[in-house]
Amino acid sequence: MNAEATSVEVIRQHLIDPEICIRCNTCEETCPVDAITHDSRNYVVDAAKCNGCNACISPCPTGSIDNWRQVARVRAYTLDEQFAWDALPAQEDLGSGAAPEIPQDIARITAEASAGQGGAVAAPWSAAHPYVNLHTLASPALATVSGNFALTAPGASSDIRHIVIDFGATAFPVLEGQTIGIVPPGTDALGRPHHVRLYSIASPREGERPGYNNVALTVKRVTADHAGNAVAGVASNYLCDLAKGDTVEVVGPFGTSFLMPNHPGSSLLMICTGTGSAPMRAMTERRRRRIAQREGGELMLFFGARAAEELPYFGPLQKLPQDFIDINFAFSRVPGEPRRYVQDLIRRRGDDVARLLRDEHCYIYICGLKGMEEGVAEAFADVCRQRDLDWAALLPDLRAKGRYHLETY
């Protein structure tokens, strides 16, 4: 980066609201990089040290910790300035020269989705460099729907769709594991514009169809909320109802961490449920298209769904050669069979899982419903316990090396 660029670089500075903070010291105790300090008046964050890992956010009892201001890096609020505050300053107008910030909504969704991995995780060292936030909410990219296919049988209890959108002449470079944002048109019941929704791309970087400027999404039509009440999901119904030729406003791409390794010999351990399969499909497809290169490395997949009929990409997955990918399906609602979850299969395949956990070249990806986090973590812990590995000690190491990636919703 040249000197001029540095001088206008804009950062998202983490700040603590002195009017709400109770000075309990929890954040300072939690911060893994000692970026938080205090005097007799205020708790403050050192912009030079804070890496935005968000480890301090959930332990804070007050919510005062979750404040951010866009500032030029060279003009970041100093510790002395922060010590003197009685209230947070307003966001300053940075003028037109400032780079667009990752929108608050996106940053929040992303932070929540990756909360279960316990803080920021680096990308694999051999990941390709991602482009992010090229198309903002203020000026989204326009894409055209080139296909919308049902992945589930007509009678299945859920409707999951494979939707392909094409960016035409607009640049929208993506990597497997990245997400894009869709803003449903119109307004909600209170007349406000809808919030942006994030979807993982299900296609590899060179396009759903190689050489085309398109991406695929895996979208489940939402018909009930988490509690089971009937609710029509605004964005998912909008997407599932799109017809070929319709146009969609897209923002992004987003995501700089949940990315696949590219070096020969690298392996992928993938665990997903339902539409959490989207990034796994993208990565698997990337590897499949490069089979002829004979780069080595293994693919191991644990994939959970209620039944085979509801498992997106069930047919195509079964056609993949067994020596290319080791697939483990877990079905939790097959009549007459015990409920089986991904964590059960992880335990059953403990020897291979442990071998991959030990392998410095294996990268782990978990994507699906929030509820799977704990079960998977416990299964890993059990697998480790029985094989002389200490999961609690291993996890920080996996994170530090960019080997453990989790996205749940």
């Binding site: 009017e19 709400i20 109770i22 000075r23 309990c24 010291n25 929890t26 105790e29 939690t30 007799s40 008046r41 968000n54 480890a55 301090c56 956010i57 959930s58 332990p59 009892p61 007050t62 919510g63 979750d66 009685d86 909360a115 279960g116 991995q117 316990g118 803080g119 704990e374 973590a377 416990e378 812990a381 316990r385 609690a392 996890l395």
Partner: protein
């Protein structure tokens, strides 16, 4: 109970699934705990679905899982903060030696006493607060009360874990007794005085969580320095939850002040009677509540000179607040510290060996921390343009424990005689009439987003939920 799935029912990082002895002890104790919770936990609320935060691991990401759960189904976990490799004892006569992973025989009795005393306060406060749900000022506050309650319950679990794991039969008996004593019971009271007081109304609750839970914070901070590593790690994790309790207190009182200031400005008055007439709590009453809770809590630190405190420190059982950040020799054999005495009708400071005055050292650190929060309360008045300021009473005021127990001292630090005390006591400490007035305001408000007349809404909801979120579902 032998079919308990331990990692599921009792989230833990102490390998409960692999420790049969501990499992057996907990299998005995857990049903009694649940029975205690049913008898003495929040009154009439066992069936509510409450939006609670559950810790499922000590990682920052495992810290705050929010969901609606019934309190008896709350997953009371057992967590130790991550261990520091090769942690060394950093004060007392064992300075520089490796921290203990087990208890040296000669310190068993003292450590047991420390753990039992700490553990006893946890169920005690649940008992003190068990009726408050019936008079909650909002769903938001009701949820905060229940969160405090389940976390006190978890803190009891944490102490019981130590008793079961490290103290054999004695520990199991102590763990049972923690469920037998009752706050305020004349025959079998809780160990510490302040935990036998009533918490009759929500102003008292907010004051309690601000002042008395802050005593908890300082005791836990001192224990987090302990040479007995499992105790240090347990208390360190408890501190993260204790912070929530102080948040409830600090923000609760601030919201009461806000509401009172709003009323005073609207009526353009500082007449307590008119403020009361509007159904808000007048500022002098809040000051008298503050004086009571501050002085009662300050007593919790114990006698100003204590050979026990010296023994605990010297043996490495209990350090000072932020021991690791202090610049002295961490042995204190030659250090002095000033304590207060009444001589000839005046308070004078006298230097004594610091080792004997460690209760006083912790008390003074506590006072410093308390005072800064009261400064933040005063900002509410400052912003509203109300000239009244809350004042922290002198630490010798209304003391019942230590050298000053038999000395009458005014809130501004003057030694006064019995006549003067009697003449002013009703200005200094909350009176039965004050309490009756506050009690008269305590009606139950439970519609989402509505707040009782005597308290302002909070600036933000819990876990970024809106203020009118349904924090409690009544079934």
């Amino acid at each position: 109970m032998s079919t308990i799935n331990y990692s599921e029912m009792i989230p833990n990082n102490v390998d409960l699934a692999g420790d049969r002895t501990l499992q057996r002890a907990l299998e005995q104790w857990q049903p009694n705990y649940l029975k205690w919770w049913a008898d003495m936990g929040p009154d009439g609320a066992q069936d509510f679905d409450v939006y609670l935060r559950t810790a499922v691991s000590v990682e920052p990401g495992g810290w705050a899982h929010f969901d609606h759960v019934k309190m008896p189904d709350y997953r009371w976990g057992i967590f130790l903060a991550p261990s520091e490799a090769e942690r060394k004892i950093h004060f007392g006569e064992h300075l520089g030696e490796p921290a203990w992973q087990d208890i040296p025989g000669e310190h068993r009795a003292n450590l047991r006493r420390i753990i039992v005393t700490q553990g006893d306060t946890e169920p005690a406060s649940v008992e003190q607060q068990r009726h408050l749900g019936l008079t909650c000022p909002s769903q938001y506050d009701l949820r905060n009360l229940f969160q405090v309650n389940v976390e006190e319950g978890r803190h009891l679990w944490a102490m019981v874990y130590l008793l079961h794991r490290y103290f054999g039969r004695d520990g199991r008996e102590e763990a049972e007794e923690l469920l037998q004593r009752r706050s305020g019971d004349t025959d079998n009271p809780r160990i510490l005085g302040a935990f036998n007081e009533k918490t009759p109304d929500w102003l008292a609750f907010f004051m309690f969580t601000y002042f008395t839970d802050r005593d908890g914070k300082f005791q836990l901070c001192a224990l987090a320095e302990s040479s007995f590593d499992p105790l240090a790690r347990t208390t360190k994790f408890m501190l993260t939850e204790e912070a929530h309790h102080m948040f409830v207190g600090e923000s609760g009182v601030a919201r009461v002040l806000q509401r009172t200031c709003d009323v005073m400005k609207r009526l353009e008055t500082d007449d307590p009677a008119r403020v009361r007439g509007e159904g808000a709590i007048d500022l002098p009453t809040i000051q008298r509540y503050l004086n009571f809770h501050f002085s009662v809590t300050v007593d919790l630190f114990g006698a100003d000179q204590s050979s026990n405190a010296a023994t605990f420190y010297n043996a490495g059982l209990k350090g000072r607040f932020e021991e690791g950040k202090r610049g002295d020799d961490h042995r204190l054999l030659d250090a002095q510290y000033g304590i207060l005495e009444a001589v000839d009708g005046r308070l004078v400071q006298r230097d004594v060996p610091m080792l004997n005055a460690l209760n006083e050292v912790l008390r003074d650190d506590y006072i410093k921390d308390s005072v800064s929060g009261i400064g933040r309360w005063n900002k509410v008045m400052e912003k509203a343009g109300v000239p009244f300021r809350l004042v922290v009473p002198h630490k010798a005021f209304n003391r019942k424990i230590g050298t000053l127990a038999n000395t009458r001292v005014s809130p501004d630090g003057r030694v006064v005689d019995a006549a003067e005390w009697a003449a002013h006591e009703r200005e200094w400490l909350a009176t039965p009439e004050d309490r009756a007035f506050v009690a008269s305001l305590m009606g139950r408000v439970v519609e989402p987003g509505r707040f009782a007349n005597w308290i302002a809404p909070p600036p933000m909801g819990i876990n970024k939920q809106p203020i009118d979120f349904q924090y409690v579902r009544f079934n």
